[in-house]
């Protein structure tokens, strides 16, 4: 079983790169890109198992990127990053196929749990 690759798509460069760095420190193969378009372009190259996706981005909305990812490969698990205090938008994203959502500012422990669950789910379904 190859190590699951992780892609972070967030227009907030500092946030995305720092998060990616922290995940790498925890032996997770994380890549970060800073727009929806970039994220979709790099899918083919990286073939990530898990995507961490910001809901609000200036070029393409998180929901649209989610839809595109799911149509590219339905097995990719997407964890949405929501800026809203409301769970509404996260829930909406889950209805569209997202695996889970997590609110900014992100608590790393919580995120790691969700990544683990997503990886387990993926391995389970693939296995």
């Amino acid at each position: 079983m190859t190590k699951t690759k992780l892609l972070i798509i967030d227009d907030e460069v500092e946030f995305a790169s720092t998060l990616s760095q922290r995940l790498k420190l925890r032996s997770i193969d994380a890549t970060d890109v800073h727009s929806g378009r970039e994220g979709l372009d790099i899918l083919e190259e990286i073939k990530p198992g898990i995507v961490i996706l910001d809901l609000k981005m200036p070029d393409i909305s998180g929901i649209d990127v989610l839809t595109a990812i799911k149509s590219f490969d339905p097995t990719i698990e997407v964890i949405m990053l929501t800026g809203h205090g409301s769970a509404g938008s996260g829930i909406e994203a889950m209805e569209k196929g997202a695996f889970d959502y997590i609110m900014k500012p992100v608590d790393l422990k919580e995120l790691l749990d969700k990544i683990k669950t997503a990886t387990d789910k993926r391995n389970h379904t693939q296995g």
Binding site: F15, T18, L19, R22, G85, K104, V106
Partner: protein, 593 residues
């Protein structure tokens, strides 16, 4: 919308809302409206009432007046004909005794005395009889006075009787020294061409007796005057016999209406030539003076009637008219007063309701924009916050995998501090975002106690700055209600905020919740601030009513609260006592259905 056509009307009756510039003008506007309405209605009632009253007053007056004049003319004519008949009778008797050929016979004093006695039997007032020859010299005399051979040739009456054949004098005293008048007839001498004259003297009281026997039921006075207006018989009131009648010296004030009614009076116009009617004032008393000439005499018959104004029927009519007029006025005033108050109140209430609806309709929009703003701010802050959070986390990660170094522990503590501050910021933005959700009007199951705590979280800072203690007295077993969270928050924030403002500094606010019935939850917000007067309490839910300083309050807060609570199917009431504090009590249904 102003209609220039009804400028005057709008001036008297401006739409009350026109005058509302601030809350204090509210009552003034409605008072103005009510006053205008009253004036218009009063004019509408008063003018026709006055016109009708004046018309009936004048109509009845002219009716009475016409009847009065009719009666007066009738009386005058009756009296006239009676007196004329008497005179004519006397005249024909004298004509009869003075047949042409009796001249010689009557010169005999014996014969004359027989005639005199006979006449006196019939007419006791006959004073004497004289026979006068064609030269004006008295030839025979029968009577109590020694009046022999008197020469009348130069006297006017003598010349008159020769010319006309008949003469009646006015009443005079003459040498007989008692009032008397003379009736004389001239006759042709059977042999000669010249005329002889029979002259009879009658005492004045004969005429007086006669006038007295006519009796006057209708008029107030009746008497005769001579061509110089000397009273020939005794008036009851208007002068003395033998003196000039006072009425003739008074100015005629006959009004146009009387002249007009006289001109249309058949009885009057038929006799127009010899009847005159005057209106005069005698001793401040208006009177009618009716005059007619008596045929074949020098006299005028005068009838006097005091005017109707002082008669009983006119007085009672005036009393009745005034009573009816005043009671109509009184009743209509009361009705109008009540009606205009009712209309104004009705208008005020519906205006208030409309105002309320407008505010309520506007409120979701306002909330939505405030919500959007809050969401925007929260989101913008959230992003840098997330970066800080991650950077600090990364630093912590590196420290963890690094060997001990100087100040490692201090560095870790500092980073923990950053993380916990981020955590606090996160809570704040989440709460802001929570408020933003108010914009979306929706009902959900709500724990009232939670909402109360949320609201207090917001105000706690400000309250603590002002040394205001906020206490909770929340029933733990409160049932959840189905309602709109955002609106509930707004209601509680408004009231609690008012309490904080009212206290100023140093005080306590208690929020209390209770399940008072199976389907009703009660929330009490009690403060120990300065309290409100009854007058203020009456108006606190009125839009634009505020006791705060100018610019500090919109006067909308509690009116919005009132509207929201009604919308949520609840009720609100206030109890307050000056110096002790204020309690707002809200009752909310478990569900709005």
């Amino acid at each position: 919308m102003k209609n220039t056509k009804f400028n005057l009307l709008t001036k008297i009756l401006p739409p009350p809302s026109d005058n509302i510039i601030s809350g204090s003008d509210l009552d003034k506007g409605y008072k103005h409206f009510s006053k205008g309405l009253r004036i218009i209605l009063m004019v509408l009632v008063f003018v026709p009432l006055l016109i009708i009253s004046l018309l009936s007053h004048n109509q009845y007056a002219s009716l009475l007046q016409n009847e009065e004049i009719d009666q007066l003319i009738l009386n005058l004519k009756q009296s006239q004909s009676t007196i004329e008949k008497f005179i004519a009778e006397l005249q024909s008797v004298i004509r009869f005794v003075a047949r042409d050929d009796r001249y010689t016979e009557l010169l005999d004093s014996h014969e004359l005395n027989i005639l005199f006695n006979r006449l006196q039997n019939e007419y006791p007032e006959v004073a004497d009889i004289e026979i006068i020859d064609s030269h004006g010299t008295q030839q025979a005399y029968a009577g109590p006075y020694a009046l022999e051979n008197h020469d009348y040739s130069e006297q006017l009456w003598y010349q008159e009787v020769l010319r006309q054949g008949f003469y009646i004098s006015t009443i005079f005293s003459g040498f007989r020294e008692i009032p008397h008048f003379v009736i004389a007839v001239s006759k042709k001498h059977p042999q000669q061409q010249e005329k002889w004259v029979l002259r009879v003297t009658v005492e004045g009281k004969a005429l007086q007796n006669f006038v007295d026997t006519i009796g006057i039921t209708y008029a107030d006075d009746i008497f005769l005057v001579d061509p110089n207006y000397m009273a020939q018989t005794a008036p009851h009131k208007y002068g003395k016999p033998g003196e000039r009648c006072v009425l003739y010296d008074l100015p005629d004030i006959t009004s146009r209406s009387i002249k007009k009614s006289l001109a249309g009076n058949e009885m009057f116009t038929a006799e127009l030539t010899n009847i005159q009617i005057f209106q005069k004032i005698y001793n401040e008393q208006p009177i009618f003076q009716a005059i007619t000439k008596l045929k074949n005499t020098p006299w005028e018959l005068v009838l006097v009637k005091e005017q109707y104004m002082y008669a009983e029927s006119w007085r009672s009519f005036k009393i009745r008219l005034t009573t009816i007029f005043l009671s109509c006025l009184f009743i209509s005033f009361i009705v109008i007063y009540r009606l205009s108050s009712a209309i104004t109140n009705h208008l005020r209430e519906s205006d208030l309701k409309r105002e309320q609806f407008l505010i309520e309709a506007e409120q979701p929009n306002k909330l939505a924009s405030i919500g959007r703003l809050a969401a925007g701010v929260a989101h913008e802050i959230n992003n840098p916050l997330a970066v800080i959070n991650q950077k600090a986390g990364l630093a912590q990660d590196f420290i963890e995998i690094t060997d001990d170094f100087t100040h490692k522990q201090a560095m870790e503590d500092a980073l923990d501090g950053i993380q916990s501050s981020v955590e606090r910021c996160k809570k704040i933005t989440h709460r802001l975002l929570g408020f933003a959700r108010q914009a979306e009007v929706r009902t959900e199951e709500i724990n009232i106690n939670e909402v109360i705590r949320e609201v207090v979280d917001f105000l706690a800072k400000e309250a603590s700055y002002n040394q205001i203690k906020i206490d909770f007295d929340l029933a733990p077993d409160l049932k959840k209600i189905v309602s709109d969270r955002g609106q509930l928050q707004q209601i509680l924030i408004n009231i609690t905020n008012n309490a904080v403002d009212a206290i100023g500094s140093g005080g306590a606010i208690t929020l209390r919740s209770r399940q008072i019935e199976d389907d009703t939850v009660q929330i009490q917000i009690r403060d120990n601030g300065p309290g409100m007067s009854i007058e203020v309490q009456k108006h606190i839910f009125d839009p634009f009513f505020t006791t705060k300083e100018v610019g500090k309050g919109t006067g909308l807060g509690l009116s919005i609260v009132y509207g929201l609570i009604k919308k949520l199917g609840g009720t609100i009431k206030v109890t307050s006592e000056v110096g002790k504090g204020t309690t707002f009590e809200i009752h909310l249904p478990l569900s709005q259905n």
